[in-house]
Symmetry: C2
Subunit: 211 residues, 2 copies
């Protein structure tokens, strides 16, 4: 399961599952429905990963998923509801934070570059797109703080752990922003990930260590 | 002239000026037109600074400027054209880069915090909002690269000056992003700017020095 979509997030498959069909026809219909649901979730995740919220359309997601727009509305409700269902940061955080603290700075840089390549988009940056917008997307910001910043803060020792976690999150968002801005063809287009880590990891590591 | 708007950018007052009215009535009309233009530019700059492009409306800018929406269209054309007229990064870059290299890291952090307070918004972050959008706003990204990144790169010595400038720009964008995300009431709401600089400046300074 190393595909683009699976690595983005782990959404529990709640909706549309669990009633249990007796007849095989029902079971087949349920399987088809589940397949449709997964196709929608994959397409939506891809769409919201690749571009800002305002640019994403239900019609585009439907076309990508091979279903009708009305089916998406029936299953998920509004675009906002779909967004909040498919977008979270847990899977990215799992990968980003999967290293012991002494080498975490370098691991963060290399994992960010790798995630961006695999996702063909940034795993965190969309939280920045949501800034200043007062609607259901405020949930996304709360989710980022909880799933990324607060999780990181609890793993840090020393003074100002919360502030340091915020600044580490900032450096990760900044890395994604500058790569998107200056190296849209990928970090390897000019410099390799290792060189990037040589330059960018020490600042991160200093915040991790709390020196 | 220390107001919020003036510090954002220096737009040459080209349109609507320079014909020179003979009659005092003409001169008065010209002065009024110029005042209207300035009010529009100020309101537009404020609007585009405070919120993402998609959320800004011509009607809102007109109401803020005390003019009719049709006057803005007559003077500036489309929303995109207005955006490109009022938004650039030169004035912010002037302030950010106004320190000798040995202390530039700290100066960057303190100036960012100060600019964000004075502007009641981030001076650079809107370039991130424009990512992934393929329209006239691509001009904004080119402008950021030229006015911020390339300008910074030419002032750096040592290897990989361009890449280091990109990463410094990234850390500045990341600082703005994390403050907007975690401390919407201002950097001083929990930690003071000096503490922020203690933590965040060393990573910047390392990239500046090219150590």
């Amino acid at each position: 399961m190393s595909s683009t979509e699976d690595s983005l997030t782990a959404v529990p498959a709640t909706a549309g599952a669990g009633t249990g069909g007796e007849a095989s026809g029902e079971a087949a219909a349920e399987t088809a429905a589940e397949t449709g649901r997964e196709a929608i979730v994959r397409a939506a995740r891809r769409a919201f990963t690749l571009r800002p919220y305002a640019e994403v359309t239900m019609r585009g997601i439907a076309a990508d998923a091979g279903v009708s727009p009305s089916l998406i509305v029936k299953r998920f409700g509004s675009k906002e509801a779909l967004f909040n269902t498919v977008v979270d940061f847990r899977a990215a955080a799992d990968e980003l934070f999967a290293a012991p603290r002494p080498g975490l700075g370098r691991h963060l840089v290399l994992t960010m570059v790798d995630l961006r390549d695999r996702l063909r988009g940034d795993p965190l940056l969309r939280v920045v797109f949501s800034l200043g917008i007062e609607d259901e997307r405020t949930l996304l910001r709360a989710r980022f703080r909880e799933q990324v910043t607060d999780r990181l803060a609890t793993s840090l020792t020393g003074p100002d752990a919360q502030l340091r976690a915020e600044l580490i999150a900032g450096q990760l968002l900044g890395l994604g922003a500058t790569l998107s801005l200056h190296r849209p063809d990928g970090a390897g287009s000019h410099a390799g990930p290792e060189r990037l880590a040589d330059l960018y990891a020490p600042g991160l590591q200093r915040l991790i260590d709390g020196a």
